[in-house]
């Protein structure tokens, strides 16, 4: 498998390109290009191959989910994308420029468990990146994001006083206040209950369609991955390898009801099988 494109073009239950795009996105520009990404950690028990020869392109304005069980190198991939990790082999290009370190003006992270600083209140948390970058705080932008995420009025609350969903919304505001072109999201809703998760997914899709960000979203939740994505990159663990890429042609805007439809459930089963067999199945029907 040399090109990610060929992988999805040749198969997948829903390999048809869908027509409805967010109107602002220039869909076919490649924003992120991952080439033969390989990461080997030197652990005490010997080298750990976290990521093995992964190649994927992400187009501008696209929402791609990276899906797989724990230990398949999802977070490793995301940290490498964000310049927090160095790859052992291969490279990652963002806007055609190789990633060599953090690029805060282009990329914003959203972490597991919100990752707010507990000694700062909500407003101070959101202003944290401005302080690091030594830039004036964009109060107008923060104000409108707070209103949009339903956090207005909680500016002086400390993280421990907020619910898990509110904390994660605050962390989304923190990232979006910087207006990065790319959002890297690392299982952001993994700790939330199913109801809050649905709510957050809908909020994310709304913000995405309004802002046109390119989003790489890591998750181990199949349903969440399908619900959000344009494409789902399925990976297998140890070493983290590309199993298959699924095109998701569910119409947008998406609703929770879609997740109960037979086609959706069939796709969940299909992806589950892919993870279990490591993507080696060759008898998939092309629809």
């Amino acid at each position: 498998m040399t090109e990610a494109e060929s992988t999805f073009a040749s198969g997948g239950v829903v390999a048809r390109r869908h027509g409805e795009h967010a109107p602002h996105a220039a869909r076919d520009e490649v924003k992120i290009s991952i080439r033969d990404a390989t990461k080997v950690y030197a652990a005490k028990t010997g080298p750990v191959r976290a990521l093995e020869g992964l190649s994927v392109d992400v187009r501008e304005g696209e929402l791609v989910c990276v899906l797989g069980p724990s230990g398949c190198g999802k977070t490793t991939l995301l940290w490498a994308l964000g310049g927090l990790h160095e790859l052992t082999r291969g490279q990652i290009l963002v806007d055609g420029v190789a990633v060599k370190g953090p690029r805060p003006e282009v990329m914003g992270f959203i972490f597991q468990d919100a990752n707010l600083l507990p000694w700062r209140n909500l407003r101070q948390n959101i202003e944290f990146p401005f302080e690091i970058k030594r830039r004036p705080v964009d109060a107008v932008r923060i104000e409108s994001l707070l209103a949009e995420t339903g956090l207005a009025g909680f500016e002086t609350a400390y993280p421990r006083e907020l619910s898990g969903g509110m904390q994660q919304r605050a962390s989304i505001v923190r990232a979006l206040a910087q207006d990065p072109a790319v959002l890297l999201m690392d299982e952001p809703f993994g700790q939330l209950d199913a109801f809050t998760r649905d709510e957050m997914n809908l909020l994310l899709l709304r913000l995405w369609s309004e802002t046109g960000k390119t989003i790489v979203f890591v998750t181990h939740n199949i349903s969440e991955a399908i619900f959000l994505s344009d494409r789902v990159v399925v990976m297998t663990p140890r070493p983290g390898r590309l199993a298959r890429i699924f095109e998701i042609d569910l119409p947008r805007p998406r609703t929770i009801e879609m997740t109960f439809e037979p086609g959706f459930i069939a796709l969940i089963q299909e992806i589950k099988r892919t993870v279990e067999t490591g993507g080696r199945r060759t008898d998939v029907e092309v629809s």
Binding site: G83, P102, M107, L117, I132, Y158
Partner: protein, 293 residues
């Protein structure tokens, strides 16, 4: 009859850790502030009533038993000993002890804090210096004062308060160091990743992530160090005071003259100093470390 367990009856079901004690963070780990504070009028009223009861109760027992004041002075005698000639008997000495304490803790804690920040950056350095820190923490530094009187350079005055300031610094510094080091060693990878993702420099990471993360433990270090410092200051004065005196010196002086009410008055002043330290760090902990449950 109801079989509902009493302690659960009206509690909101929750298994959240520390939901009961979220007030002062790791200061509680020292056991210093883990006492529940009184809030209601009934609680405060009872505290005041108990204090009055203890005071007059002891007074009554001692009067009834006709205990001589050199065996055990009556509370009213201690109060009058405390308020008579306060300036001459205690004021000057309180000032001397306070100077030794404040200068010693300031010097010791600053050095301890800086050393903690430096050595925790390199695990190798930390391991190499660890034995010396343990020795400094465990050795009672007031034992050094007679030696310091002989050996300190002339400029620092072997007879003045400086030997005691040194001893206080040596007693409080390692306490701050050992606790602050525990704080600085707490590395939260996710928070460092967060700061790095916004392009933070190593110094910014220290100032905005590592230091605030360590702050609760640093406050603990200051509290424990200050209490050790007061102990060392008073003990050093008892063992080897300068001609300036000090509260510890006054204890020995009043004891030798069998002025027991004055002796107890001095104890009351030292206890008040200790409680003041407690209150200061209680407030500091509440303000700066309450985010940590």
């Amino acid at each position: 009859m109801s079989q509902v367990p009493n302690e659960l009856r009206d509690e909101i079901p929750s298994f959240e850790e520390g939901s009961q004690h979220r007030d002062h963070g790791p200061i509680d780990w020292t056991g210093m502030t883990s006492i529940r504070g009184a809030k209601s009028a009934l609680e405060i009223g009872t505290i005041v009533a108990l204090a009055v009861g203890v005071f007059w109760g002891i007074e009554g027992i001692l009067r009834w038993a006709k205990t001589p004041s050199y065996v055990f002075p009556k509370p009213t005698q201690i109060v009058s000993a405390l308020t008579t000639d306060f300036g001459i008997r205690y004021g000057h000495h309180l000032w001397v002890t306070a100077q030794e304490f404040l200068m010693g803790v300031a010097i010791g804690s600053t050095i301890g804090l800086l050393l903690a920040a430096v050595i925790t950056q390199k695990p190798f350095v930390e391991k190499v210096v660890a034995p010396y820190i343990i020795i400094l923490v465990t050795t009672p530094m007031l034992a050094l004062v007679p030696f310091l009187r002989i050996s300190l350079p002339k400029g620092l005055g072997g007879l003045g308060i400086w030997p005691i300031v040194f001893a206080v610094a040596l007693a409080s510094g390692p306490m701050v160091l050992i606790n602050a080091a525990t704080g600085f060693r707490r590395t939260d990878l996710a928070k460092i990743a967060l700061a790095r993702s916004y392009g933070a420099s190593t110094f910014q990471i220290f100032r905005k992530i590592r230091f605030p993360l360590a702050l609760p433990m640093i406050i603990v270090g200051y509290m424990v160090g200050s209490i050790f410092g007061l102990l060392t200051a008073v003990g050093s004065e008892m063992a080897s005071a300068s001609e300036e005196g000090g509260l510890g010196h006054q204890l020995i002086y009043f004891a030798s003259l069998i002025q027991v009410p004055q002796f107890w008055a001095t104890i009351v002043i030292i206890a008040a100093l200790g409680v003041s330290i407690y209150i200061v760090f209680y407030c500091v902990g509440k303000r700066w470390a309450s985010w940590e449950a």
